[in-house]
Symmetry: C2
């Protein structure tokens, strides 16, 4: 069997399972999720053992320490998976929710019903917890899924996939509702990307090169996350304490996350007052600052920021700082150089706060809050399968609702069209 045939067969089975899932109620889906949590807890030893083998193989192949770190699971990360499953089981089931009903003059009642997307392909790297998160979120939202994990986590993923199968079987759910691709050739990714009509949407989870390849080659629609070039703008009317707290938290609470601030904008009227104090705090955290011309008049010892800096996601203790002459200059900078991910204004001015919310073209727009809050758990979604930087379908953290869409429902009593 060629890889293409194997993927096609797998997707067909997933599609059949998707239609079977339409008959499954919330209680049955929740039972499967809770059973899976039990099975993970019961099989801790063998899961950790599979992970040890993956790591040994990765070390032998000379993979980077960062990658091996992402690969690693512990007793505590297994506990997190179980808690995640319990949380997803406890969330309201979005499937079948009805909404927006209106009565038409001819007596038709027309509204919308929330429905799954269909078969979701998840292509991911390293972290084995994605296997559980993705399977659980897709199952709860009534979607079938085809999971294609990276070769480096193959043993651990396979061990998790077997437990998923067992949980589905034991609770009477269709066994192909979650399909794990037992092939780690690049070609299997290609076959998933081309499976028009069999796979309805692809969600890549991984580094930039993976996401770029998926975007470039997919013929199936993609929900993706690209850069997180997030801004904090300290406005003319900012509260100084809030400004400093937020600017510090948004940059230094974690460096490698997509919702970390990469560029700080400061209104010219407040720069001399706020920047020196901020610079000292950043220095204590060893954050490298790069500034525009005006910033360097206030902080003469920092490096000059280049045009490239404004468009860079550092994912590191580096921050570019720009002084802007007015509110509109901040808005224009963010919309031009940002990645439309998450941006925050610090201001006490009511009108400017509202204008910022309206004018900033990003998936999350904040007032007086750290960009680091842009996250499905923090937003109360219970869990997220990723953060979308796309404009269509769903923006920002993607939870259960993001894995569904709405069909139209028309209730008549014999109406025909004139």
């Amino acid at each position: 069997m060629t890889i293409k045939t194997y993927i096609t067969d797998t997707a067909r089975k997933a599609r059949e399972a998707f239609y079977q899932l339409a008959h499954v109620d919330s209680a049955a889906k929740n039972a499967a999720l809770l059973r899976l949590a039990d099975l993970i807890a019961q099989n801790e030893t063998s899961l950790l053992e599979a992970n040890v083998q993956d790591i040994a193989a990765a070390e032998q192949k000379g993979l980077s320490a960062a990658l091996i770190d992402r690969l690693k699971i512990t007793s505590s990360s297994l506990k997190n998976m179980c808690e995640g499953l319990q949380q997803i089981a406890a969330l309201p089931d979005p499937v079948g929710e009805m909404d927006e009903f209106r009565l038409r003059p001819n007596g038709l009642k027309i509204g919308k019903m929330r429905v799954p997307l269909g078969v979701i392909g998840i292509i991911y790297e390293a972290r084995p917890n994605v296997t559980i998160d993705a399977a659980a979120l897709c199952l709860k939202s009534g979607n079938a899924c085809v999971l294609r994990g990276g070769s480096e986590a193959f043993r651990c993923n396979m061990a998790l996939a077997k437990l998923i199968q067992q949980a589905l079987n034991e609770t009477g759910l269709p066994e192909y509702a979650v399909c794990f691709v037992e092939n780690t050739d690049r070609e299997s990714v290609g076959a998933i990307l081309q499976a028009v009509g069999l796979i309805d949407v692809i969600i890549p989870r991984g580094g930039k090169s993976l996401v770029a390849r998926v975007s470039e080659q997919a013929r199936v629609p993609v929900i993706k996350h690209l850069d997180g070039i997030c801004h904090v703008y300290i406005d003319e009317f900012a509260d100084k304490t809030k400004a400093i707290d937020i600017a510090m938290n948004a940059k230094t609470s974690r460096y490698g996350t997509c919702n970390t601030m990469e560029t700080l904008l400061v209104h010219a009227a407040r720069a001399a007052e706020i920047l020196p104090e901020l610079a000292q705090k950043y220095a204590e955290k060893n954050v490298e600052l790069r500034g525009c011309l005006k910033t360097r008049e206030i902080l003469p010892n920092i490096v000059a920021a280049t045009e490239e800096d404004w468009a860079t996601e550092y994912l590191a203790p580096v921050l570019s700082i720009k002084i802007v002459d007015d509110f509109q200059a901040a808005v224009s900078h963010i919309n031009q150089y940002g990645s439309h991910h998450t941006d925050s204004i610090v201001t006490e001015n009511y009108t400017l706060a509202n204008l910022f919310l309206r004018l900033i073209d990003s998936s999350s727009v904040m007032v007086n809050a750290s960009t680091r809050f842009a996250d499905g758990f923090e937003y109360g979604l219970g869990a997220e399968i990723g953060i979308s930087t796309d404009r269509l379908h769903v923006r920002g953290p993607v939870g259960l609702h993001g894995l569904t869409s709405q069909k139209w429902i028309v209730l008549g009593d014999g109406q025909v069209r004139g």
Copy 2:
């Protein structure tokens, strides 16, 4: 200037206009739409003259009568355009609507705001009214658009585009909010399809070959309409009168529309009672019937339906008929052979009606109503830019809401993440 550069430049101007549109309120957008309606009424003579020239050129080129028919505008179609503009002006503006706010334990207020998609590329054929409909719906929903009409309607489209420019100028709106591509080479379509990062979504309006080309070649996300293989299922518990009325209306009220029924399914227990009467009525309308084996036992004079018939959108006075043994067989047939467009059950059974709504995987699912109602106007959207048969973002008739998405809004008072 190459065609690619021309399209890139045009899309850049549209993107700038998109950001300017964020400053424009509903009243200004409505004023532009109403001014455009006035201008169309005032310029009736020159618009009809441009259309006459298009038609003469089309006849010289030997284009088909059907195409020339779609090309033609009259005094009455211009009146319809004006009325459409007035209706769109009267619709509520979706941009800025806030929704789903929740208070988080840390005091953050988190909700969603409805926002435009960005720059929308519309690629269309023949009908010049699409120029006005598309421009109006995009403008009202805060999107900039790049319109690429077909060569056969070029003169009339250009005349309409000039009026759009005039209306935008006179009401102080950004002139590039609506860009008309003054190039009818195939290459300009290709350049639009590849304009990743400049055009956010493409909506093709036209025949199957256009939509297929757009789907195949687009690197930008597409909202599209493919086949409309719609079903009516006459259930065991159908009211006979409703069943006959709906089956006749769904097939014969118009043959060439995407919401016309192409296959009729009848429960075995009711076939002998209902089919002969229906067959006679279809015969009066000269509808050719093609039946399954069991149907032909009841209607021996009709043609045998082949496997291909079940998957065919006739767009003609032809109907395939299948007798099914039970409800589930009807559901399975529709999900397998249908195009996930619009399907209707005729039944008096409450439980089966609800089950049908849930199990049918189509953009519109109906009970006791003709499939012909699947239409933005009939649904109360005021207008539609098309009907989506996609699964992501929007299903069914696409009105103003379908041209928007939602961003997250986070309102804090200094919160930082622990």
